[in-house]
Symmetry: C2
Subunit: 143 residues, 2 copies
């Protein structure tokens, strides 16, 4: 299968460009969107949780969270633990999530046009398999 990964990476660039164009309208980027999605799913979270989930170093998450806090999309939840910072979406954050979610879903549909459910299913399995293989490779060198 010649060129599979090359096309994978090439397509990624195109996709990200569209996603970021879309999110830019809301003063967001994909990296900020990831935090929003994570909070939408988890309700509340610490920064370390997000760091582990996306495998991004903590300083990166600190920056993302600061920017989202500044734009009023997330807020800190009062907690007895004064070491960790627990955050959640504000109501404005939830609203923005909904709006973007719809736009992104529409984009995804238009991009998947002409593909059958079965093809998408196999593509999904392909991704999961690759992910597994990479992660198990990493496991062997103890990461």
């Amino acid at each position: 299968m010649e060129g599979l990964f090359r096309h994978y990476i090439r397509t990624h660039r195109l996709l990200m460009k569209h996603l970021n164009d879309l999110l830019e309208k809301y003063q967001l980027s994909y990296s900020l969107w990831q935090v929003i999605v994570y909070l939408k799913d988890s309700g509340t979270s610490t920064l370390v949780d997000i760091s582990n989930y996306y495998q991004v170093e903590k300083p990166g998450i600190t920056r993302r969270v600061r920017r989202l806090q500044e734009s009023g999309l997330i807020k800190e939840v009062p907690s007895t633990n004064r070491r960790e910072k627990i955050i959640e979406l504000t109501s404005e954050g939830k609203r923005v999530y909904q709006v973007c979610r719809e736009e992104i879903t529409a984009l995804e549909h238009s991009i998947s046009e002409g593909l059958t459910e079965e093809e998408k299913q196999i593509a999904f399995q392909f991704l999961m398999k690759i992910q597994d293989n990479i992660l198990s490779k990493e496991g062997f060198r103890s990461e």
Copy 2:
């Protein structure tokens, strides 16, 4: 197909990390590797050709080419046209290409382990279809 694109992007991060780790051993990165691959396929090229192919702005290509020239992997080809710069791989560049090519192919195989040719074929078609859809979307807004 819920989460298809999320997984796509997530997997991309993992993949790039491995590719860059591999290329780092040769003082390369994926962005430099792209130029090498393009020159391997095309023989000679101008900077604008590369810029168009990868859809990266010209200053980015200028930077990549400068770095590759400094490390002696590409060189300028004498030409009558003094406006455009025609470049090609040096013999050292071709040697490095071969070495990296083998390593990358091995990495790709290990990452694709457990997938049938048919599955890879469908995944490839999936990527091509997405690419087409995105590009035709762009076409409509005249890019």
